[in-house]
Amino acid sequence: MIEFDRVGKSFGDTIAVEDLSFTIPGGEFLALVGSSGSGKSTTLRMMNRLVEHDRGTIRFQGGDIRLRRPEDLRRRMGYAIQSIGLFPHWSVARNVATVPQLLGWPRARIEARVDELLTMLGLDPARFRDRRPRELSGGQMQRVGVARALAADPEVLLMDEPFGALDPVTRRSLQGEMARIHRASGKTIVLVTHDMEEALSLATRVILMDQGRIVQDASPAQMQAHPANDLVRSFLGRGPR
């Protein structure tokens, strides 16, 4: 589905990501884990061309992403971020409908899809459809943010620390929601997080990054059983041996 081939990116003299190669098959739930500055967000943002890579090739469904228009690429990849970025002058329904409207869906189809998504994320459409973002709690806003990312039924869902600012209870419940959505839809999901516990409980595969490079790329079970080095061990919450 998504393929990185020796990808590199520098900001000025600083190398953000170097020699990155991995393949994300369709249906995988991949977690990119690392501390801040590890290059995990840059890696995610290169997938939908919010950041343009300098070296190597990134392919989406076999085609070089540079050959696609960024907008077309992004409309096929859902995008949810920590700051959520709901549009404050639009209702919840209008926010969720952002991408379908950009794609020019007929009104009835959009309305049905909005209700379906709100229900799927545990927000009663009748109560929430016409509210403004400022009338929602943090957890409700993030649910709307995820619904918006899923609205046009994208092949891939990209998420950058989407649960980072939530309280633990709300966080758990949304994590459960994501796991359920992944199982039910079989969508490819890429999640950026600094929380190894979150990665292990949700993802089918974990890539741990440090200083722009991959430290370990393994399934959650493998990573727990055979941490590659002390850095992985410290992320797993165990001290060095």
């Binding site: 939908n48 919010l50 960024p70 907008e71 077309d72 690429l73 992004r74 409309r75 995008y79 971020i81 700051s83 959520i84 970025g85 709901l86 549009f87 404050p88 002058h89 952002t98 991408v99 950009l102 400022r134 943010g145 918006r148 990312a149 990209l158």
Partner: protein
């Protein structure tokens, strides 16, 4: 009952009162003749009668509106241009020009405009428009820059094109700030247009200038009263529009 409530609302509304006073004086300044005659018994002509105040008001509004439209168009266009990715490099330069320009008094712009294009309405409109660009430009930049980075990122990440982001997100959110800029621009313009009579334009400043040169205090008061009321009406109307369009509340 409903009608009575509406009348009551209207009666409590300062904008309605100011507007009513402005229209009354524009149509019938004559009504105040006894008042001015009593206040200034030494004057032969206590009431300005070269042109009707209604005519002056319309011409004044015409000049301000023409200048305001030009200033809004230019200020908006420039403000949008320098907040685009491709225009960003001009932002510091434009901001410098804006802050320097703001320190030049509008009268000075008028004084420069007359020798360049002669007397009449045109130099007045040009001077007012030039000076009026600055508040609109500054407000457009401030308004667009105030859109949080997270919303911009979401807009981009969801696949909005640059123009869609501008039209769907940035301009609606910046609108109250931009309106405040237009309000400043227009209110300054209303005051300055009075001075534009020195450039040969017929405005509500005509009685003020004639009064000043002919020691006729009554003329000055009549002109100033009209200009003041017009400025107050415009200011309150913009304030109301701004509140209405503040979609973030």
């Amino acid at each position: 009952m409903r009608f009575a409530a509406r009348v009551a609302d209207f009666a409590r509304d300062p904008l309605a009162w100011a507007l009513a006073a402005l229209l009354f004086l524009a149509l019938d300044m004559q009504a105040l003749r006894p008042l001015f005659a009593a206040a200034f018994p030494a004057l032969d002509r206590p009431l300005y009668e070269q042109e009707g105040f209604g005519t002056l008001l319309l011409e004044h509004i015409g000049i301000v509106a023409a200048a305001g439209l030009a200033a809004t168009g230019a200020g908006l266009a420039a403000g949008i241009a320098v907040t685009r990715a491709t225009g960003r490099e001009f932002l510091p330069m434009v901001e410098t020009v804006v802050s320097i320009g703001q320190t030049v008094p509008p009268v000075a712009v008028l004084a420069i405009a007359v020798p360049l294009i002669g007397f009449g309405q045109e130099p007045a409109i040009l001077a007012l428009a030039l000076y009026g660009v600055l508040p609109v430009l500054r407000a457009t930049i401030a308004g667009i820059d105030s859109v949080p980075a997270g919303m911009r990122e979401a807009a981009d990440g969801l696949g909005m094109r640059a123009l869609q982001r501008l039209w769907l997100l940035e301009l609606p959110l910046a609108l109250p700030v931009i309106l405040a800029g237009i309000r400043t621009s227009v209110v300054i313009s209303i005051g300055t247009a009075a001075i534009a009579s020195t450039a040969g334009a017929r405005t509500l400043g005509s009685p003020i200038l004639l009064g000043l040169s002919g020691f006729n205090t009554a003329y000055v008061i009549q002109g100033a009263l009209m200009v003041g009321l017009l400025a107050v009406v415009a200011d309150m109307a913009f304030e109301r529009a701004g509140r209405r369009f503040d979609q973030r509340r």
